[in-house]
Assembly symmetry: C2
Homo-oligomer: 251 residues x 2
DNA sequence: GAAAATTTGTCCGTATGTATG
DNA sequence: ACATACATACGGACAAATTTT
C-alpha cells in the first residue's frame, strides 16, 4: 500500500516530503511535535537519511523546524481562502484574512489577441489587446501571479491605471466600468513554471492553482480575460453558492 | 528565462517532460509534429539524451508517439471539463464529453463523524456517519477518487444503493432526496498521495485537484460532505456563474 | 547531580540513478 | 555504446543537545 516508487524521476526524499506534508501534518496542531526521524523512516520504509532530506526541504519551505535533541515541530502557517463567485475580487475577497494586500504591475504590452483570448473577450480574430502581468501579495507574501487581457480599443489606459491603483476593480471603475461580474472560472493545477517559481517565491516542485476567468460588465460584454496562478500551499479557492443574504445553515 | 534546476529531487528529464506537456504541446493541434530532439535540447539547455528520456516518459503516458525516421507526434487527448455550480453532478456534468461513465464503490464503513465532517453536515460531535470511498471513470480512465460522508441515521443504506447504481444522485433519489444542490466547494491542489496514485493510476509526483464540498437538500439540510481528488492532467474544474444557459431540469 | 534514553546532526563508505559529451 | 561526474539512497557509527530516570 505505502510503497513509494523508485526510478520515476522523482527523488524518494521528495516523495517522502510530499507524504509528510499531507498525511502526517494533516491533523496536527501548530507547534506540535513530529514523530522521530527513525519512526518516520520505518513508516515509509526508507533510510533515516532520506527522511532527513525530506525534512530539510520542508524546513526550507518554512513548514517545519528541527531542534537538536528536542525534535521536529510544525510551524504555524495557515492557508488563505480565496472566494470565487459572481462578485470575485481579489482585495474584497481577502481583506478579512490579511493585514496588507497589494497588487503590483510587472509588465504590459499591446499585442494581437491570441485565439483563445479573442474568443473569451468576443473580439475579432486580429483585434489588439493589452496584456498585463501582475503579482498580488498578502501580508508581504506573494499569493498569485496573473496575466490579464483587455480590449485595447476600450481600455487603452488599463496598464497605467493598474500601476497607479494596484487593483483591477479600481482601474475599471476609472475607465467607466461601474460594476462587473465573473462569468466563468476554469481551475487547473500544475507544477509551477520556473517563471512562476520566481514570481511567487516558491521552491522547485511547488504546485500552483491555475484559473482562467472571464469577467463581464452590466451589459454582459466581456471586459477581462485572465489567467491567474495561485501558490497552492498558501491559498485555497472557495466556491460558495449560498445566495447572499441567507443565514448560513452551519459553520 | 527557462533555466531548469538541479538538485531539486525532480530529475531533469521529468522537468523537461512537464515543460513539454504544458508549453510545447499547449498550442499544438492533434497529430502535429514536435520539434526535433536536438532543437528541444537546445531550447531547454539540456543534453539530447535528457530530452529522449522525457519523450519516452510522455510516450508511456500515451501523450506522444515517436516514429523512427519521421519524428515525434502529439496524440489526440483532451482534458475533460468538470462543471461546478449549484447543480453539480458527476454523470450529468461529463456526459457530453465521454462515451462511458461509471462510478465504483471501493469501501464503506460506519464511523463517528470526524470534527470537520460533523460540522459540515450540521451533526452533533459524536454522531455516526457512513463513509464511502469511490472511484469515477470516464472512458475507462479513472478521473476522480472521492471520500463522502452521509448521516448514518438518515441514509443507512447509502453504500448499498451506490454499489447498485454507481451514482450519488440516483442513490439519494432512492433514499428520498428528490433534489439536492451544491452549497460550497473549496478547491486545493497537491501532490497525489500514494493511495491516490494507485486509485487513479498516476505516476509519482502527479498532481490532484482536491475539492471539499457540501450538498444540501431542498430544505437546506446538508445531505453529503465529500472530498474528491481529480487527476489534474485529465480534468479541469469549470465554475460557470452564468444565470441562464444552464438548463434547470435534470433527468 | 549523574546516568540513561531519546532525538537531531555529522561523517564515513558504497551502490545505483541521472546527466553530459 | 562508452566514459565521466554528480545526485540519490543506503547502512553504520558516533557526536551534540535535550529530556527522562
Amino acid at each position: 500500500m505505502k510503497t513509494l516508487q523508485r526510478r520515476t524521476g522523482i527523488a524518494l526524499w521528495r516523495q517522502v516530503a510530499d507524504e509528510i506534508r499531507q498525511s502526517v501534518l494533516a491533523g496536527m496542531a501548530a507547534n506540535a511535535q513530529l514523530p522521530a526521524e527513525a519512526e518516520l523512516a520505518a513508516r515509509f520504509g526508507v533510510n533515516r537519511h532520506t527522511v532527513r532530506a525530506a525534512i530539510a526541504a520542508l524546513e526550507k519551505e518554512g513548514i517545519l523546524r528541527a531542534e537538536q535533541g528536542r525534535g521536529t515541530f510544525l510551524n504555524d502557517r495557515k492557508r488563505l481562502s480565496y472566494p470565487i463567485g459572481r462578485r470575485t475580487r481579489f482585495s474584497a475577497g481577502l481583506e478579512n484574512q490579511a493585514q496588507t494586500l497589494s497588487g503590483k504591475l510587472l509588465s504590459s504590452r499591446t499585442v494581437p489577441a491570441p485565439p483563445h483570448v479573442a474568443q473569451a473577450l468576443s473580439l475579432p480574430a486580429n483585434a489588439l489587446v493589452i496584456e498585463i502581468t501582475t503579482v498580488s501579495t498578502a501580508d508581504g507574501l506573494p499569493v498569485s501571479a496573473a496575466t490579464s487581457w483587455f480590449d485595447a480599443g476600450r481600455f487603452p489606459a488599463i496598464a497605467e491605471t493598474y500601476a497607479a491603483t494596484g487593483s483591477i476593480t479600481a482601474s475599471l471603475m476609472r475607465l467607466g466600468v461601474d460594476d462587473y461580474t465573473r462569468q466563468t472560472t476554469a481551475v487547473e493545477a500544475r507544477h509551477a513554471s520556473t517563471e512562476d517559481l520566481d514570481l511567487l517565491g516558491l521552491s522547485p516542485g511547488a504546485i500552483v492553482l491555475l484559473t482562467r476567468s472571464v469577467d463581464i460588465d452590466a451589459q454582459a460584454r466581456p471586459v477581462q480575460y485572465g489567467e491567474s496562478r495561485f501558490a497552492a500551499d498558501r491559498i485555497e479557492l472557495l466556491i460558495d453558492n449560498r445566495p447572499s443574504g441567507v443565514p448560513e445553515a452551519a459553520s
